[in-house]
């Protein structure tokens, strides 16, 4: 009896929280003629014509370019964050440097609204010629990803027994070699998790994509909103839905495959920070 109630609550919660995704999926599979008469949740004649149109008619809005921009910018934003944070995390975990001052400042950074820095960054990008470039967007995404990357890696490296480092040191390894050849393989799972979670976060970022790109480097989140700009005759709901499904697919697939690891990293800053 109580168990039935639990299943019921689970079903309702899952449906309610995923409702917009479900509606968008259903709409993306309806033909234009069915859309105009049937806004409900069933489909009488499922079709993939919306997806075909999005993927083949790319003269006005090119979804490949949005997907490509998001991929490159997210890869830069994730890789660079790890490259910068990994040595820093090693130093923080294995020496006193940065533990008192730098770590708290960077953890708090997660809670500072980044819009605060947006206007000077916009001007800075204008001078540097980084506006509307994938590199420029990637650099900002690095900032977005750094705090959590650092926290996860400090936690992971702190969990590695010190004896491992010491043994290598006795054998004459430098701390640089210890970091790259002893620590890096041991914390590999944490690095992978950081990478996946950072990639999802970067892919889903919107504010800086909106401000810093206009045409060449527009990411998927911003590009999807272009399909909603009234273009004579209102929004093409089937097309827009297909675009949203394709744009949401990469992070959703990554997240569903890796949900165990991600739940750990999502709460890392909250539980241990």
């Amino acid at each position: 009896m109580l168990n039935t109630a639990r299943w019921l609550v689970f079903a309702i919660a899952t449906l309610a929280m995923n409702f917009p995704v479900i509606v968008t999926l259903v709409t993306s599979l309806k033909s234009a003629s069915e859309l105009s008469i049937n806004p409900g949740l069933w489909i009488s004649q499922p079709t993939v014509e919306n997806y075909l149109r999005v993927l083949t008619h790319t003269d006005r809005f090119n979804i490949y370019s949005y997907l490509f921009n998001s991929t490159i910018a997210s890869l830069i934003g994730t890789s660079l964050a790890i490259l910068l944070a990994f040595p820093a995390a090693y130093a923080i975990a294995r020496s006193e440097a940065g533990k008192r001052t730098l770590l708290p400042v960077i953890i708090n950074l997660r809670a500072v609204p980044l819009i605060i820095f947006a206007i000077p960054l916009y001007m800075m990008y204008q001078w540097l010629g980084l506006l509307d470039t994938r590199l420029g967007l990637g650099l900002i995404l690095t900032i977005v990803n750094t705090p959590l990357a650092l926290v996860i890696m400090v936690n992971a490296i702190s969990d590695v027994p010190l004896e491992l480092d010491e043994a290598a040191k006795v054998d004459g390894a430098s701390s640089w070699q210890v970091m790259l050849m002893i620590i890096r393989p041991v914390v590999r799972p944490a690095l992978v998790t950081t990478f996946i979670f950072g990639f999802i976060t970067a892919w889903n970022e919107f504010l800086f994509g909106l401000m810093l790109t206009t045409s060449q480097a527009v990411p998927m989140t911003v590009g999807a909103s272009f399909f909603f700009a009234a273009s004579g005759g209102g929004v093409q709901w089937g097309t827009a839905s297909a675009v949203m499904m394709l744009g949401a697919l990469p992070p959703a697939v990554l997240g569903l495959v890796m949900y165990r690891q991600i739940s750990g990293s999502m709460t890392a800053g909250a539980v241990k920070g």
């Binding site: 689970f10 919660a13 929280m17 509606v23 040595p87 820093a88 609204p113 750094t146 949203m244 744009g247």
Partner: protein, 288 residues
């Protein structure tokens, strides 16, 4: 034996510090200078100092206070709703999830979708002709409210934000709940304590730190909300859905009022630092 010498440690930190100084330190400095200057797109590199005029004009702006009030109410209400529902789900569904952890995946899916994308999706969900929600409301009740007009937009946005981020609170609470040692619970059950007493006197106090942290994380995220609100209503509905982030964005990009936008940024910065350090101070006192 120190594994990493102090000087070496500094060298490992240097790239990260340099990067942060360039991308956050320098902008923060520019913010401070511009906020006390007369500045426009024509004299970006040679702003002339003008005192606190920008701050005065922001503080006198009715829309600024509207935005502050929106962000504040939005942050508190969504954080409360997310924590309450999340706590209920975590405790009520825990027996279900203990043996079937794959059930977590669909519950976590909303966290993987971009908030901006969710905002766009709700344009469809709530659309008066194409959206299923108004369609079914008309079908079953003969009427449907205008979800995004000036009277309802705020409530609609609260629901949208809550439905997407409740899983986050749920996740934190679930992990804290299953981390409670089994023998604590068994000892209480052995003493014949009913479940609600165990919950109130043992489990909730043990989860209290997580409850507080989850509330503040969600409050801060709600307070600085931009993506889903902007994608769903813009600042629409008569400016009634302008969050502080949207206010700053629009002052800069729509009005070109750089001084105003920057002064508002600095105030938001100072306010968030004050809150953060207040919290850290509280946490430090508790530990002692």
């Amino acid at each position: 034996m120190a594994i990493v010498k102090r000087a070496e440690g500094r060298a490992y930190l240097a790239p990260l510090v340099a990067f942060l100084l360039l991308f956050l330190g320098f902008p923060a400095l520019v913010n401070l200078i511009y906020s006390v200057s007369t500045v426009s797109f024509e004299n970006l590199r040679s702003p002339s100092l003008s005192g606190l005029g920008n701050y005065a004009s922001v503080l006198a702006d009715r829309e600024f206070w509207q935005a502050v009030s929106f962000s504040m109410r939005f942050g508190i209400l969504t954080a409360l709703a997310e924590c309450l529902i999340g706590l209920f789900l975590a405790i009520f569904l825990a027996p279900l999830l203990a043996k079937r952890s794959f059930l977590m995946a669909p519950l976590m899916l909303p966290l993987m979708v971009a908030p901006a994308m969710i905002g766009l999706m709700y344009r469809l969900v709530l659309h008066e002709f194409a959206g299923p929600v108004p369609y079914y409301l008309f079908l079953w009740f003969g009427d449907s409210p205008a979800f995004l007009d000036i009277n309802n937009a705020f409530r609609t946005l609260i629901v949208v934000e809550t439905l997407q981020w409740t899983p986050f609170a749920f996740l934190l609470f679930y992990m804290a709940y299953v981390a409670i040692p089994v023998d604590v619970r068994e000892a209480a059950e052995l003493d014949g304590a009913p479940w609600f007493k165990i919950l109130w006197w043992i489990e909730l106090p043990l989860m209290l730190p997580t409850l507080v942290i989850a509330f503040f994380i969600r409050f801060i995220d709600g307070f600085r909300v931009f993506d889903n609100v902007y994608a769903l209503t813009g600042s629409g509905a008569g400016g009634s859905t302008t969050s502080l982030s949207i206010y700053i964005y629009q002052a800069f990009f729509k009005e070109g009022a750089i001084g105003k936008a920057v002064a508002a940024s600095v105030m938001l910065f100072v306010a968030s630092l004050a809150v953060l350090y207040g919290l850290n101070w509280l946490a430090g006192r508790r530990r002692r």
